[in-house]
């Protein structure tokens, strides 16, 4: 994991002092609220329904155990003993006091954390696959590139006041996309060209929100050394030509659409031609330097614990299910990737208590070289667990609420904080998630349904990624009442697609029945090998519509 040097530490400390000074001037009346607003947003601070909300950055989802313990302490000392993992691998506090935020930022800086650019019209946290570095099918570890992008984008003097927010995601596996790169402003897919050289396929102009779009490819192959100069060219074209007259048309996707992907790509190439050989061009030494922070931990030479696991699975069906759903294959023999699910019915998806944060830290130290990762599905990963210790880990996870074996099932719901917390929301989302989880409480039935992404957002801003859920639920406001619109067929993976709206929206209490009806159509129509998405793609939306509105 990346470790700060004296330069990073200096800038982090100066950033805290800067925000302390800005907050002092705001409270003294020297800064108007409209002048303070973008400054506080770029330090992660929103003013929400009940209180301020602070979004803490977790760069590309990586956390050390000392950082987790510090986060736990912060929720105790400054908040109500819980926090919320977001769909962009960040962590939110829901009840901090404005006056105390500079102190919270100072506490974060002590453990090499911050809330820089987690909000506002700037380049946000760069996200990636939570299995980076431990899966066997990745082209290269994406994290060094994420860290290079983090440094390049941090306090970038030219791009602090963009037309709108800007999100970059990097994916490394050819087979799977766990980072949803095609619904980001820039999506980077690591690839090798015919000559075997490393580079990126560049998507620009994806995004959710009011106008959901899958990002088109604007460059098939970008050599790795050209990463930052090319990003600078994309951002400069966007900064200069993105719309600023209408907030709802200000994202880069609108510019890409207006110019056409080809037209946009031409503008970027023309800009890039001027700067591609500038000092911002990466050097092999710079990449090697950053790669040095993402070396393998001290793995032991192990054999796969196949026989041991088989007998443990045979003896304990619950363990067997957990292993089947929440544990993934590791590139090293004898190791496994474990996902701790934060989707226990009755707990808002992604929420953790201070005690749980401390527990994750302890588990990371005990089982996974002191590191944990946040997923965009709002779960937590221990990436390097010995197979012969899985059973003992599982026993330890169960009482802590981390072993719900519902990963990738209908109940592994992505859900925004919604109307319970968020100012922007039209409707609550957490109670809808809970009602669905209660309806589908039979694990065997859930397993039989297989992988279904169900995503819930409380408004058009789509923080719950409803557009790319196989089943999407969107809270809408109808003359002051909360209603829910359902969409089907979305995907955030390599086959990214925006879901189609099923039809008129429903009252909250109807939603579980609607989901049941949709699922029943799938069960009746599927062939033996088909996932929900496969069946939907084969039979289309009509049979679902007919059942739901019958």
């Amino acid at each position: 994991m990346y470790v700060y040097d004296e330069h990073d530490r200096k800038m982090a400390a100066e950033r805290v002092e800067q925000f302390r000074d800005q907050t002092r001037r705001r409270l003294a009346g020297e800064l108007a609220e409209e002048e303070y607003l973008p400054l506080r947003l770029q330090n992660g601070l929103y003013v929400q329904r009940h209180a301020p909300m602070l979004r803490i950055c977790v760069p590309y989802g990586m956390l050390r155990s000392d950082q987790l313990r510090r986060l736990a302490r912060i929720t105790r000392d400054y908040d109500k003993r819980f926090a919320h993992f977001t769909t962009r691998q960040n962590l939110q506090l829901n009840w901090p006091e404005l006056e105390q935020v500079p102190d919270i930022l100072a506490e974060l800086a002590e453990v090499e954390m911050h809330a820089n650019q987690t909000s506002g019209n700037c380049i946000r946290n760069t996200t990636t696959d939570q299995f980076a570095g431990v899966q066997s099918d990745e082209i290269a570890d994406p994290r060094p590139y994420c860290e290079l992008i983090r440094q390049w984008s941090t306090f970038h003097p030219e791009f602090a006041f963009l037309p709108r927010k800007f999100k970059v995601a990097v994916n490394a596996s050819e087979k799977t996309d766990r980072a949803a790169i095609q619904v980001h402003d820039i999506g980077l897919q690591l690839v090798r060209n015919d000559a075997g050289e490393l580079g990126f396929r560049v998507h620009v102009g994806g995004g959710l929100g009011r106008t959901p779009m899958v990002g088109p490819v604007i460059r098939e192959f970008l050599p790795e050394l050209d990463l930052l100069t090319y990003l600078e060219a994309v951002l400069r074209v966007y900064n200069r030509y993105g719309r600023r007259d209408n907030k709802f048309k200000a994202r880069i996707k609108i510019l890409v659409k207006a110019l056409t992907p080809e037209g946009f790509a031409e503008k970027v190439e023309a800009e890039w031609a001027h700067i591609k050989d500038s000092p911002t061009r990466l050097t092999p030494e710079a990449i090697e330097h950053i790669k040095g922070f993402f070396t393998e931990p001290a793995y032991e030479q192990l054999e796969n614990a196949t026989d041991l696991l088989a007998s443990q699975r045979f003896e304990n069906r619950e363990f067997d299910q957990w292993l089947a759903h929440n544990v993934d294959t590791h590139k090293k023999p004898g190791y496994a990737i474990v996902t701790l699910t934060l989707k226990q019915t009755g707990t808002p998806p992604g929420d953790v208590s201070d005690e749980q944060l401390d527990q994750i830290a302890d588990l990371a130290d005990e089982y996974s070289f002191g590191e944990a990762r946040v997923t965009h599905h709002q779960n937590v990963v221990l990436a390097d667990v010995r197979q012969d210790r899985l059973f003992e880990l599982w026993q330890s996870l169960k009482p802590k609420g981390f072993a719900t074996a519902n990963l990738h099932t209908l109940n592994d719901i992505i859900c925004c904080p919604g109307g319970d917390y968020c100012n922007l929301a039209n409707a609550k989302s957490i109670p809808v998630a809970e009602a669905i989880q209660r309806r589908f409480d039979d694990m065997d039935y859930l397993y039989d349904l297989g992988e279904i992404d169900l995503n819930i957002s409380g408004c058009m801003n789509a923080c719950g990624h409803h557009h790319v859920g196989n089943i999407g639920v969107l809270g809408v406001d109808k003359k002051g009442d909360e209603f829910y619109q359902i969409s089907l067929g979305g995907s955030s993976h390599h086959d990214a697609q925006i879901g189609k709206i099923l039809g008129p929206s429903f009252a909250r209490e109807e939603v579980p029945d609607v989901i049941s009806n949709i699922v029943n159509v799938y069960v009746e129509q599927r062939t033996s090998e088909e996932s929900f998405l496969d069946t939907y793609r084969r039979i289309g939306i009509k049979p679902f519509k007919e059942r739901v509105y019958a």
């Binding site: 330069h7 800067q18 941090t154 003097p157 030219e158 006041f161 900064n239 600023r244 950053i290």
Partner: protein, 168 residues
Amino acid sequence: MPELITADGALRQDDWVVVPRPEEGEALALPDDKPALVPADLWLENESTFANRADIGVWFDSHDEPEILAGKVNEVPLIAVNFPRFVDGRGYSIGRLLRERFGYEGDLRAIGDVLLDQLQFMKRCGFSTFVLRADKDASQAARYLDFFSQTYQAAWDTDLPLFRRRAS
């Protein structure tokens, strides 16, 4: 007369007058006895009279294209860039283009909604003088121009990005 902030935070008085874009059909209202900044496209239209005059500079608005002055940037004594609202970040790109692409060597001035908290970004993008919004305290500027002692990126103020300086 507005106080002018220099790149090191010193204050000085300055006579330059920003001449607004005239209404359709109206002529440029140049001041009689003071140096004037005129809209860049109008300087070009009147190039034969304005060229090589030490008292006529140009200004760009945030939606203007600095490309129109390519090859001629060093024929004007002063260039200003207007920030109509401080959250309009286009001026930063204009600054870098004027300096890094078109090689402008003279004084580059930030005007408009210029506030203390953005001064260092502006300086990093090539601005060398600043006219702070009238209600702000220019005497504090020095502190904000150099708040951060280190930066990650190459820009007008830093030849090499931190990753190159680290590697060497």
